[in-house]
Symmetry: C2
Subunit: 391 residues, 2 copies
């Protein structure tokens, strides 16, 4: 007979899910109410406001999609791309590639701009491509590549796209709340994120935000959106204004309690303070990792503080190290993805998980496990470096 | 400043979400672990087994989709229907209509069989339609129409479809765990359900099950599935066999804790016991409602015990009654949907909510509110009828 599941508590320092704030776990367990209950409609309205704050936007259509980040990505593409539309997709990691797949599946034509994994999207390449493909309608890129830990210059890329009359779709899955995201400042038209990264919430929802221009584009489509579930024309009827909400699908009520709580926590801390905290803990982690001889794959100027991708030392079995960390320390760090599988570790410091305890714990645990491979690591070297960074 | 959300506890007796078992709420709040953690893979394997039990099937591809029931519906259609495919859709309520919409959005041709709302799908009409449309590839119907409370004869409909070499897609959103669902006994090829109905879990996930024949059909498609997120070719890589799971999207970890717990509870009670409990409480509710002069819109033989659709008495403002029930009693019952909007109430007795306390409470609360409209209701008449039914 299968019995209740009681997971071993872990410290989550991979690419997400990251450690969840206990306040959010408590919120998840609050009593379920109906998805058309007046109190729930208040929660929806507050969630929209709080998401507008997080994304720094006045976009009316700023809501959570009722499914994980990948569905948020798909929501942007199925609604904004019509069959035959040309979309310039900047690919510098796994998630740019996924964007291109999304374009093709809805019958669009994806024009790829490729940059080496671990480097940011090159604005010059975007300019050149848009000069060549003057009929392109949309530019899509990843602000923070979760597969490499690189940040691209969203403001510059959006402004180039605008000069060429293109809408922009920006992947902010890993950036939101960890580094500055400023949709209105960038002039971005569509963005999506996830709950399980720097919002420190459980996985399962995808906040999105679309500009009025993007909404107009959706309303004036000549073909129907291929997905019923993600058709924003329908979703807007439920997430719209006033007390009358048209039933579309049943909202994931308790998951939304969790997201709401995570956004309240973010507002209490303040965006700027959250970004600064991510940066401070990143610098301390970096000191510890470098003391252990690990090297970052992303150049300093483009590094995401919340996702630290480092190379595996020679002679070290990367899978075995992760296994030891999990089994001996209940600590999860991430493996490489796609072209970087087996070549890097991805160490997350996201949201609630971005704190000095996790930095010290992770560098200590790594020191302990790596010492088994390399006699040249002096005991305590990571701790010393971390302490110095915080001093 | 927006503060934490603390909902007023309600009694949920609408069409879902229904009252959630407190064990499930507790499970939601357990510590989040990674979606590739070995412990989580064990949870996934157990969840598949438990879903096979609930659906009464040996289908290998029996998994929860990471989004609400509507996405489970869409998963079946986007994977099984290719552009140009003819699909016979039986429509006897809102959700049959939604199925037809799904067919059209992926480029299929929907051939409709319409039956009056509140009546079951007519097998003779299906026979006639399939004799006429010999090139039809799929038959789709709703086992338990949530908009009307009617049950159709799934076994007969599946068998007619099979005689005409059609695959079947069956909507079991409201039926699973409330009345008999027997995929293998029916010979159904694809079915989907929801978590927030008779599984008494929170909304947000959609259990699905596909036969080997259906999987073969998906693997031999000549066109790509239009949705990346719902493409079962990719999803199977994560939910497949063994310890190696290919990352697709980040699973909604804590929501899956909840579903797992709800399925453990179902297994502990046993399917037959769960069906019998739903029937017993339905009969008691029926006695109480009829004592108040309310009439069922579905003939006795086809009534779902878990969803009781009754007419509104003359001179009664249906919206005002629901509002009074919510405000005075914290009790939610459902309004009519689609063609039945304003014409019926839908009273759910689903899963954990199907119990004598709720039956007595609901009939008492209704008696109290309806007395304000109708002087002919004798005090205590509902309670008496309910008590007699349980005796």
């Amino acid at each position: 007979m299968v019995s209740s599941f009681n997971p071993t508590p872990r410290t989550l320092m991979g690419p997400g899910p990251s450690d969840v704030n206990p306040r959010i776990l408590s919120a998840l367990a609050r009593p379920t109410i109906g998805h058309l209950d007046p109190e729930f409609i208040r929660l929806m309205d507050e969630t929209k406001q709080l998401l507008q704050y997080a994304f720094q936007t006045k976009n009316e259509l700023t809501i959570p999609v009722s499914a994980p980040g990948s569905a948020g990505m798909e929501t942007c593409f199925v609604n904004l791309v019509e069959p035959g539309d040309k979309v310039v997709v900047c690919v510098n990691g796994v998630f740019g590639g996924r964007m291109a797949d999304n374009v093709r599946r809805v019958g669009g034509e994806a024009v790829l701009i490729e940059d080496e994994w671990g480097t940011p999207v090159d604005p010059e390449k975007l300019k050149a491509t848009l000069s060549e493909h003057r009929d392109a309608k949309i530019v899509a890129f990843v602000h923070a590549e979760t597969s490499t830990g690189v940040r691209s210059d969203a403001k510059t890329l959006c402004s180039i796209a605008k000069e060429h009359d293109c809408l922009t779709i920006v992947d902010c899955v890993t950036s939101l709340a960890g580094v500055e995201v400023n949709l209105d400042g960038w002039g971005a038209d569509a963005a999506y994120s996830g709950t399980q990264k720097c919002l420190s919430c459980v996985p399962g929802l995808s906040p999105i935000s679309l500009s009025d221009v993007a909404v107009k584009r959706i309303k004036s489509r000549t073909t129907q959106v291929s997905s019923w579930f993600l058709d924003l024309n329908l979703v807007m009827g439920y997430w719209g204004e006033g007390q009358t909400r048209a039933y579309h699908h049943t909202a994931p009520v308790n998951a939304l309690y969790g997201l709401h709580e995570s956004l309240v926590i973010l507002k209490e801390e303040g965006l700027e303070a959250s970004w600064a905290r991510h940066q401070q803990n990143h610098l301390a982690l970096r000191a510890g990792l470098e003391a252990l001889g690990l090297e970052f794959i992303v150049a300093e100027d483009y590094r995401l503080p919340q996702l630290n991708a480092v190379t595996i030392p020679d002679g070290v079995d990367e899978g075995s190290v992760r296994k030891q960390l999990l089994q001996q320390f209940n600590l999860e760090i991430g493996a490489g993805l796609g072209a970087l599988a087996g070549k890097v570790w991805r160490i997350g410091l996201m949201g609630y998980a971005s704190n000095p305890r996790n930095v010290l714990f992770c560098t200590n645990a790594l020191e302990s496990v790596l010492s088994g491979y390399n006699a040249h690591i002096n005991k305590g070297v990571a701790t010393e470096a971390v302490q110095e960074a915080y001093a």
